[in-house]
Structure formats: structure tokens, C-alpha cells
Subunit: 406 residues, 4 copies
């Protein structure tokens, strides 16, 4: 037990392979199609890239070893996922994008044997994609999960689910859904939710409108999904009834951190593009990179990226230690999402007219990065949650001090 920040040689190897694979094979495809995964071929492209990644031995490196993955823990995912995220198509290529990566993580922790075989196996091996149906349109569960309105009613041999979900990433083309629905209590209550598994072709499941979000790299869109009298047999309840909020936590922290890892790659690319530009472009009697105000932006990018990486390493280590690490992941997520926007913005500014055009990838990378300040809990909700803990701690300390004096 002593501080060690080095990755094992096996991890370094996966990082190197991933870096090469992403830069040589994936990035050119992304750039050719302006980062639009649908325009680039959608699931057809995905299968092609997955096959290549499988051949390189880097497909789904986080998946359990029994399903062909490398079983990387959270700490070791950091450099691998960042390398993959350097291209916005990289996560799809390695099958480590949202929501599949988080669903693999969740199923690996909670699914029973039958569910592992039926759902986790095909997902871990990239045979199918999946959806995680939690968020709902207003006034349902958005930033505030307690507002959950989708209802599951007990019926003979299973449950009947009704409700509308919203912004469900990857819904179009998903093989199955994990559905979070209320089995007790009323909207506004904490608790009383259950997780259900359901193949996408279950009667009553309908993928609706794609919400036209400004990002373009997530396969299957961010869709509305309607559940009308969807029957889920008891055996497809994931984990225990009424424990959905607890399971959501199991998924949430890690999924939040893998978001950070992937987008850290994309932010780094913005920075690299700008660095390349200012190190070549001349003006004002020298190279742009010799100007103090440009150097300030370069340094601030380096600082933001380094701080993100350090916070990420810390949060992932806590997760690997078995903690929920709510504060650590909230801190890392909030800092990261804002840092990425700053990095993209500075990179854009450094590139001047080119930066605000599609001749460079920065403008579209910014559109990929910006939503992360909203996705997975807006920064404001995370700040609220961080502060409540700190203030609660202070209150207890004050009460203890008073009790001690009495």
C-alpha cells in the first residue's frame, strides 16, 4: 500500500493498440463523415468496426472475461477509453459507448445466470446494442430521478409497464431495453422503482421521435420510447423489486466516469488540433504559438485536461475500492464537463476563422462535448448534491461540538 499511478504492462499494451487503431482506422472515417455516425453507416459501420476491433483484441475491454472481454476495472479503463474517445466514433468501434458500456457493467453486477446468458452475453460480445430507459419528459424523471412516472403494475406472472421515456440513447436499433419503472410510491417519492429487461420487439414498445440533440456520434439517437401495456415476465425483473434506485446508483457512478474518459479523448483532440494550428500559423511577426495570449490558452487547456485526468483517476480508484463514490464522481463529472467546454472553446478561438468553420473538427467536437454539462445530471444538480453533503457534514460536526461542550 503506497501511492502508485502506473498502469500495468497489459493495460499499456491495450492503450497502445487502441491508440493506433483509433488514429489510423477510426479517425479517418469520422472525419470523412463529419462525425455523423448515422451518415457514416450506423449499425452497418458499427459491425464493421467491431469486427476490426475484435481482431485487434480490443473489443469491449471492460466486459467480463467469460464473454471475451478483458475485464478491465474502472482504473484501467481510464487510459483505454480516453484513447478510444480521441475519435468520437472510437467508443462505438470498441463497443464501449453509452449506454451499452454501462449496461454491461450493470448486468455484470446484478443479472442472474439466465439473464447473463440471454442479455449480457449478446451485449458484451457486441451482437446487439441496448437501451437504458430511465429519463422521462417533463414532468417526469429528468434531472430529478424521484419524479419517476412510468408505472409497472403487477399482473399474473409478471408486470405491465406503461409510460413515456425521453432522450433514450441508442434506442433506435437496440436489441433490448433496461426499463426503470415505478412499482411503489408516487412521483416525487424517493424509492419504489424496479429495473426490468425487455427485448425491443416486445409488444407495446415503440421507439418514437429522435430528439434532435446537437451531438451526432451516438448510434441509435436520443429517442422518445413509449411503453404501452408492455408485459415483462417475473424472470425478467433485474435484481429485486423496488430496488431500482439502488441499482441505478451501481450503474450511475461508473457510467458517469466512462463518459468522462471518452470525452476526455475528444477534448484532447480539440487541443491537439489547435496546437498544430498555432505551432504553424504565422501572424503578428511570428508564429501564433509565440504570442502570450495564445500561450495562456494552451496552458489553460493543459491544466484543464490534467486536472480532469487526475480527478478521474481518483474517482475510479474509489469505485474500484467498492465505494459508491458519489461525491468523487460528481466532482470529477462536473469539473470535466465544464473543462471540456473550456478546452473546446479555447481551441476554437486559437484557430480563428478556421476554428468556427467545419474545415476543422473543433466546431463539431464542441457540439459533442457541450451536452455533457447536461447529460448524466446537469452541473447544477451535481453541485447541489456535493454541497448538501458538505453542509450536512458541517452541521453534524457543529452539533457534535455543541453536544461535547454540554
Amino acid at each position: 500500500m503506497a501511492i502508485d499511478l502506473r498502469y500495468g504492462p497489459d493495460v499499456v499494451d491495450v492503450v497502445e493498440k487502441t491508440t493506433r487503431f483509433v488514429r489510423e482506422y477510426v479517425l479517418p472515417i469520422e472525419d470523412r463523415f463529419g462525425g455523423d455516425i448515422t451518415a457514416a453507416g450506423g449499425d452497418e459501420l458499427r459491425r464493421e468496426m467491431n469486427a476490426k476491433a475484435r481482431a485487434e483484441g480490443i473489443l469491449a475491454p471492460h466486459a467480463p472475461v467469460e464473454f471475451g472481454g478483458l475485464g478491465l476495472d474502472m482504473s484501467d479503463r481510464v487510459p483505454v477509453f480516453e484513447a478510444a474517445g480521441y475519435s468520437t466514433f472510437g467508443p462505438v468501434a470498441l463497443h464501449i459507448g453509452a449506454p451499452d458500456e454501462g449496461n454491461v457493467h450493470m448486468l455484470a453486477h446484478i443479472a442472474d445466470d439466465r439473464q447473463r446468458e440471454l442479455y449480457l452475453g449478446p451485449l458484451a460480445t457486441a451482437e446487439v446494442r441496448s437501451g437504458f430507459a430511465m429519463t422521462e419528459p417533463a414532468p417526469g424523471a429528468g434531472a430529478d430521478p424521484n419524479a419517476l412516472r412510468t408505472q409497472a403494475t403487477k399482473v399474473d406472472g409478471g408486470w405491465k409497464i406503461n409510460g413515456i421515456k425521453h432522450l433514450i440513447t441508442g434506442a433506435e436499433g437496440a436489441g433490448f431495453f433496461i426499463i426503470m419503472a415505478r412499482t411503489a410510491g408516487a412521483p416525487g417519492d424517493r424509492g419504489g422503482a424496479t429495473m426490468f429487461l425487455a427485448p425491443a420487439d416486445t409488444p407495446g414498445i415503440e421507439v418514437g421521435r429522435h430528439v434532435p440533440t446537437i451531438d451526432r456520434s451516438m448510434i441509435g439517437g436520443h429517442c422518445e420510447v413509449l411503453f404501452t401495456d408492455v408485459f415483462v415476465p417475473d424472470e425478467d425483473v433485474l435484481g429485486e423489486v423496488d430496488e431500482g434506485y439502488r441499482y441505478a446508483q451501481v450503474r450511475l457512478g461508473p457510467a458517469r466516469m466512462t463518459h468522462v474518459m471518452r470525452w476526455l479523448g475528444a477534448a484532447t483532440r480539440c487541443h491537439d488540433v489547435a496546437l498544430d494550428y498555432v505551432s504553424r500559423r504565422e501572424g503578428f511577426g511570428g508564429r501564433l504559438g509565440d504570442l502570450g495570449m495564445i500561450q495562456q490558452m494552451v496552458a489553460d487547456n493543459e491544466i484543464d485536461l490534467a486536472a480532469t485526468r487526475s480527478l478521474l483517476v481518483k474517482a475510479c480508484f474509489e469505485l474500484d475500492q467498492g465505494s459508491h463514490a458519489s461525491i468523487e464522481t460528481s466532482i470529477a463529472k462536473t469539473f470535466a464537463a465544464e473543462a471540456f467546454c473550456r478546452v473546446a472553446d479555447r481551441s476554437m478561438q486559437m484557430c480563428g476563422g478556421l476554428g468556427v468553420s467545419d474545415d476543422l473538427p473543433i466546431a463539431r467536437l464542441q457540439r459533442e462535448l457541450r451536452p455533457f454539462r447536461v447529460y448524466d445530471g446537469p452541473s447544477e444538480v451535481h453541485r447541489w448534491s456535493i454541497a448538501r453533503r458538505s453542509i450536512g457534514r458541517a452541521r453534524k460536526a457543529a452539533a457534535a461540538a455543541e453536544a461535547g461542550q454540554a
Copy 2:
């Protein structure tokens, strides 16, 4: 002579008419076409909107009275142009967009009678559009105007112009160009530039590639324009030979401020959309607008918009007093461009998932606003110019103090 910040009743009237016209007629068109002026019909739409604006008596309110305009000075343009800018199509509708508005301003100050009739008249009445061909691709005149490379060579009866221009707004479909070319000195020198007028169909003028910038509201794109042995007769020299840098100043300050006015309208719309959202949307046990962190964003938007407006009023007053107002316009421009980005970003954040989608106009308004931190001189160049003045002043003061002591 005493501080007065009220607009005359005639100006208030134009503002009211413009507000109504823009909100009732123009804004719905903008929204229907997602703010893409080309998709919305380009010049055909423009002519239609211009006709309506003319009927309302608000077409080209800055143009000289002799050409049917209202002859508004810079101060009085402020509220009118802001009202027009509330829709990104508003400036085109009123014929007060870049670069036409600035070209009208410049021609009104510099053109001789013949040029007024041939060029200013048709432009002021919206019969034609125009281009201002100054900026060049690297290593030419970009942020640093001294790098001017386009060359005009004296020939019999006129000049022959050769060079490449870049990011020329409105080039596609322009009726004529004002071309800035070097008539003395070498790239890097301050001085030796001349302004030329040339109909767009002059042999040797070719509109090239549209630079795919992220904004969509400026008609005629931001294009490359190639000049190959373009002959311009002496009578089409605008003002004096070799005085181009001085004339550029005449155009620059005012054009910079009208940019601020128009985009102030667009930033205000972002804020209004967010205000509407947070005043209705419920969550966390109340309306979003009741939450402190949301209120902070609302207040910061109000502060940013108010400060922009105040700096704008100040700079425009100085311009009306006959000053070049370089510092005042640099300060107002730099603050405004950054404030607009902050306002758009906060507005987006307040609207959560909707904010990062095209279901609301904020995301695309952000793409309209962001380039302003680069267009018309990047913030860094303005800061450099502001600082050099201040430091120069301090040096002189120090030298004077030393001299006084000696």
C-alpha cells in the same frame, strides 16, 4: 449639454415598428427554416422581406435620406438594430446586415457623386447586395491587416488587381465589391492600401468556395473570392489612392458596433427563451426559476446584456461625435462578443436537455453568436490594441513626470 439617454419619439416609433415586424413576420420564417437563410430562400426571401419592410417604412433606416433611408446616426441605430437582430433574419429583412450596412456607411462617407449614384443608390435601396473584400487567407491579411497581399498595379486608365480574398461575407450573389488592395509597400507594412469598386461581373472576379462556417443567417455565405487581372478604371477608385487603411477605419468602428447591435438582439432572444422555460418548468419541488443557481444564471444574463448595451451606447455616441473611437469600439466589441457567448451558454444550460437540442433555437443561435469572438478582429487582437494604448499612455506619463523632475 447634460447626460441624456432617451431616444426621440421618431426613433421609438421605428423601434416599435421593427419589433412588431420582426416578431410577427420575420421570426416565424426564421424558426420554420431553423435559421438557415439559404434553405429559407436566399435572395428570393430577402426581396420579399425587403418589400414588406419598405412598406412598413423601416427598410435601411441608416441609409441617407436622399436614398429613402431615415439617416439614423449610430446612437439611434442601437435600439433599432437590436430589435431587428432579435431574429437572425431580421437584419436581412431590414437590409441592415453585414456587409451591406457597413458598405452603405462607408460609401455615404467617401464615394463621389458618380459612385453614389452607381453604387450607393442601388445598395441603399436594397436593389443589390455587395461584398467587402478585405480579409485574405494565410499568410495574408487576416486578424493582422498589415499583412495585405492582394496587389493592385497601375495600368493605363486604371488598375489591375490580383489576389485571393477569404471569408468574404455575402459574396455569392453580390452586385459589386469594395476591394482593398495594396498599391504601395509590401506585406507587413502599415499603409499603402487602396479601396476599389468593381461590379461583380467584372472579368476576372470569381467567387470560390463557401467557407463552411457554423453560422447560417448571412446571405451569400462567407466565400473565397479570386481576383485575376481584374481591371478597375480610375473612376472606380474609392477615395484617394493609398488611403485604404484610413478608410477601413471609417468603416470598421461603425460596422463593428452594428454587429454588436444585431447580435445583442439574438443574445436577448436566447435569454428570453430560457426565461420562458425556467418560469414554467417544474422540478425539485417548485419551478426551476425559483432555484438559486438558475436565478444566478438569469441575473448574470441580465448583467451581461445591460453592460453590453451601455458600452454600445457609449461607443456609438463617441462615433457620432466624430471620433474614431478605436478604444471604445474595441472595448464594446470584445465585451459584447464574450458576453453573448456567456448568455447563450447559460440560456442553453437553463433549458437542460431541450437546450442542447434543436427543439429550441438556442443551440443554433449559439452557432450564430460564437464566431463574433473571431469576426471583426479576434478578442485577442482587440485586447492587444486596447493594452498598447493604455501602456503607451502610461509610458508617456512616466516620461513626462521624469522630464518634469529633471
Copy 3:
């Protein structure tokens, strides 16, 4: 009626006199005593400086003409008070510091003839100083004025006041107090306050502890003041009973703006000191002022100071028009207080090791400026108030739109 931002020649004259007086006479005293007005002589120094200012014709330029002042309106105070504030002793020298300046303003608006003669006259002519006893220690009226706890009970021929006030500027040595006390309702209610006038030697008034705030330029400190059965005759009620909150508004907006004016002077001095330093000091192969990161700080200072000045002009004009201008003064105050801190901080940073020492005045000026983000309403309270108005407006607009559709 047309935008005019020029000051009349009479105002320009007062500004010039004030500038000269402050820089040549006042500033050297401030610097000699490290900005500590008590160490520099307190009221003795004040009387000396007031005599000089009177001789120059610039004492109390805001006071009514009948009492020897110049009767400057809010707009015209801007440049004069800024010039005075260039030295932190300047406002005392001109007798335009807090709380006297605000008390003069308030009495001029509300006092009856007898009170004008007894209180306003001696105050306006700098014969005495005064205190404004409004804020209270927790849980009383601090940032939240509705929490007012000091109680005035009706007795025969007058009122009996009991309560504790806190952070009462200038209390030590004040000739009289304006006391705000509750005459109806209970702490937490809006309304039910009354303003009372009381000579400082009224039995039951006791000036307590000086709160050791970090600023040093306000004469008479920021004190606790205790009121124990203080009898105030009916004729010393200022204005109407129960109208205290309304009168507080009369005083608040203008007093807030004159704070901004004075501290704008101090912030400008920080900037000037830094400018002088970076324009002389060599390092890194040139003058510091030639380095981009330094230039950025210089420019940002200029922008902050210019924006503050513009917002101030706007708010003061609205006040002069007879508006309460709550939003305008809140915006100007909030922006200004934060801008001053940024300016002081950047100025300090530019001066390196000297900046964080008392060899330059910046460190102590920062201590004068920082409290303004708390004094006169913390920024958070102003933001809350700005936002509530904006959101309220949006709600009404939404309701009106709905009503219109119905």
C-alpha cells in the same frame, strides 16, 4: 431628446478641480498613512481637509445649493465622485463619503423644515458627521432587511427605541443618527418600519465595538450601536410613520451608486499603479508591458472599468428621471463590485512581488474594495432580486400569451 453623454462645462470644472485637489493634496496624505484614516488623524484630519475643499469650492458638491453645495444631480456626481475616490481619503475630504452623502441625499428629499435646519444644515456643511442605523446582527436585518428587529414603541409625545445595530459606518464621532426601527409587524414582515432622527448624545445611545473590517478609510469605523430606551420626540420622526422601507429605497439606490463612483476611483488607481509598473519594469527580454499575458490583464482592466462606468451612467440617469431604478442600480452595483475586485487582483498580479507587499498601495486598496461585494447587499442578494424581476416578467408574459390564446 437625443443621446448625449457630455458633461456641462461647470461639471467638467468641478472634476478638474477635484482631480487636482485629490492628487496633489489628499493622495500624499493617504499614502503617508498607508490609507488608515484613523492613524492619519481621524476627524481632525477630516476638518482640515474639509476646510481646504471648501476653499476650492468643491466641498459637498451634491448638497443642496441653500446649504452651500452645488446641487449636482446623480449623473453629474459620477465623474466628480470618481475623481474624489481616486484617493481613499478623497470622499472624506470632499465630505461625500458614506454614510453622510446618502444621509444628505435622504434628508434633502424627506426632512421637514425644522429637520432641515437642525440636521441637514450642519451635515451638509460638514459641521457634523452622521450615522445610518439600519443593519443589525444576526438574526436581525442584515442582507435581508425584512428581518428588522429594533423596536420603536409609541409613548407619550414620541417613541422609545430598543435594539442593537451592527456595522454602522461612521458611528464613532457621529453627531446624529438616522435610526430605522420597527413600528408595526414582526421580524420577517415586509413593512412597518419608521425612520427616526436622534442626536448622538441622546440618553440610551451607546456606540459599542468596532467591527474589525478589513477596510481602513471610513471615518468613525463600522460599529455596533446599542439603543436602550432611547426616547425620540414625534417631531424627530423622519417622514411618515411606517414608511421606513419606502424611504430606505429613496436612500438605497443613490447611495449604492455613489459607492460605485467612489470605488471606481480607487479601482482606477490600482490599474494606474500597475500600468506604471509594467510600462517600466523589464524582464523576459523586454518590458513587462510588451508581454501578451500582461496585455490581456491590462485590457481586461480597461474593459471592466469602462463597463462599470457605462452601467453607472445609465443607472444614475434613471435615478435622475425619478425612477427607483432598482434593477439598474442592482446591476451596476453587482457588476462594479466584482469588477473592482478583478481589477485590483489583476493589478496586484501584474506587479509581482511588489504587488503583494505594502510597498505599493494595491494590497490595501484591495482590502478597501473587497467588502463592497458584501456591503450594500451581497452580490447574491442583488442577483436574486434581479432574477426575480426577470422571471416574474416572463411569467406574466406567458400568462398573457395563454390568456390571449384562450
Copy 4:
């Protein structure tokens, strides 16, 4: 080799002891004397506190084991020094303050046996204090070390040193100095410096004026030190002649990080004081800690502190691995110094009127923290250095890519 962020039980034990010692014994002394170490007794207090720390087994925990220290590496110093820094007197109490801690570090790496016995031993055991005489007044070596002007001239049996040093921490009362002087080249050159050891009573050494910096916790002040024909025998040259810049690097990175550790403690205290305040204080219908804008400040403090800690851990690990870690330490230092100022500022703001008074320790802690953005290299110099590396790397990559294509 796998990520591990846990401290060994021995380190945890030292942290606990230090925490208890500092909070129960040291902090009350600091508070009693308003954080002014000179007023609190200076070296007399230091000896008293050192004796107590020795008794607790926590004196100089970084010193070599042979001199009674615990030989903690950089990684393990992090939590211990932070715990000590929670009181601004803690580092003096544990004898881990600047410059002694850095001098111990440097001597442990470079000194020969005789020097270890004569200088390192007494220093490591807190028998004496020391000074590190590197920085000079303008135009000498300040932020730019190449400007070194203090001259060492070879004489028979040793060297003769002449020059003026500036801002030499701890000079008053130091037992000996490490002096950096030029032995080759001219001011402006990189290289040609040598380190010398000299007892403080060596003829020609004179401690001059204390620069009145705004911090008060460093014993022995920040002084000017004059060297006039100071003779240093050859045996007191530290390391090799002309290798001074290299040795400065050995000291610089670690000393920079221990600064961060100590001040991280002080910043955490600011945050704790504010947390305690907002968790108790009522206003606006509840506790301050329930207000969104307050929660935002709390969360931002937590984020800043966590990011600082993570960057620190990373940089220290790299140092322990034998790297100079220039980029990592520059990043950690720059982020930390600015984060500390933000934390102190927010903490102050949260405490309102109390925050800007000396009734709470925040205002004086801010004065301790602010200079760190200047000490040990201003943020601007670190940013420049970070950016130069990044841009240099980009240039090489571009050149390599071009070469590869050729």
C-alpha cells in the same frame, strides 16, 4: 504495478497525530495572535512548538532518518503537510516551512558528508533555520532566473560573493544561507550559476529591509540580503561549480509542491470556517446553506480542493519516480494557487460582513494565500513554460509528419 491511492498505515498515523497536534495545540496559538508569527513570539515560539512536535514524533517528517526524520517521500508528504498547513503556524511547528523544508531536501540530495554534518544535521533537527538566497531585485533574477546578477569571483581558496538578494524568506534569524551566484556568463544567460553555503555570521552578509508582504506566517520575514565581498571557501561550494541552475531544479519542483500541500491546508480551513457559518446562520427563510447560490460556492470550493489534491498527488508521484516533473509541478502549482484564492474568496463571500472582518480568520488567510500566485514563479511564467513545451511538442510532431511524408 496497478493504480493505488492509499497511504500506508504509518503515514495515516503521522497524519492523525499531525491533525490532532495542529488543531488542539497550534491553531489556538495562531488564532490568539491573528496569525502573526512575529507577534506570537517568533523563534522563541518556534522552538517551543518544535519541542512539542518532537515529543509527538512528528518533527521534520521529511528529513532523512539518520537525522531523526521519517524520511517521507513526496507522495507521503502530501497528507501530512496538508494537515500541518491547516494552521498557518503548523509548518513552523513541524519545521516543514519554506525555505527550511526545501533546503533540507536539497542538501539531502547534493551535500557532501562534511556539509551534511555541518549544515544539514543542524537544519534537519531544527537546531537552526536557513535561507535560500536566489531571487534578486529588478533588474536581477526575479520571475526570470536567467537574469541572475549576484557575482561570485574565484579567489585563492574560495570565492568572493557580491550582490543583492530580495524577498529572501526567513533571512532574519537564519543560521546559514544557500546562495546562488553567477560564476560564468552574464545576466540573461542560461547557465553559469553556482550554489554556495555560508553561515549567516560570515563577514559581509547583511540582512536588510523586510519587504512588507501581506502574509504574516513565515518566520524571519521576506528580506533583502546584501552580500559584500563575502568569502566562501571551496569546501562550502554545494555540488559542482556552474551547476547551480540544475541544482535549483532539484529544489524547485519539490519545494513548489510542498508549498501547495501547506497552503492546501489553509485553504481547506477557509472552506471549513465558511461551511460552519452557512450551516448555522439563518436568513431568507432558512439556513444560508439551503440557498442555491451558497451551495454553488460550497460545491465549487469542494471541486477546487479536490482537483488541487489530485494534481498534487500526480506531480509528487512523478517526482518520486525520479522525474523533474516540470510540467506536472507547474500545472499543479498554477492550478492550486489560483484555486486557493478562489476558495478563500468564496469562503469570505459566504460569511458576509463577518467574512470581510477580522472576527473570522478568512481575511487574513486570504492574505497568506494570495502571494502564492506570485511566489515560486507567477502563474504567467508557469503558463508560458507549460505552453512552450506543448507547442514545442506539436512542432516536432508536425516536422516528423512532414519528414515521414517526404
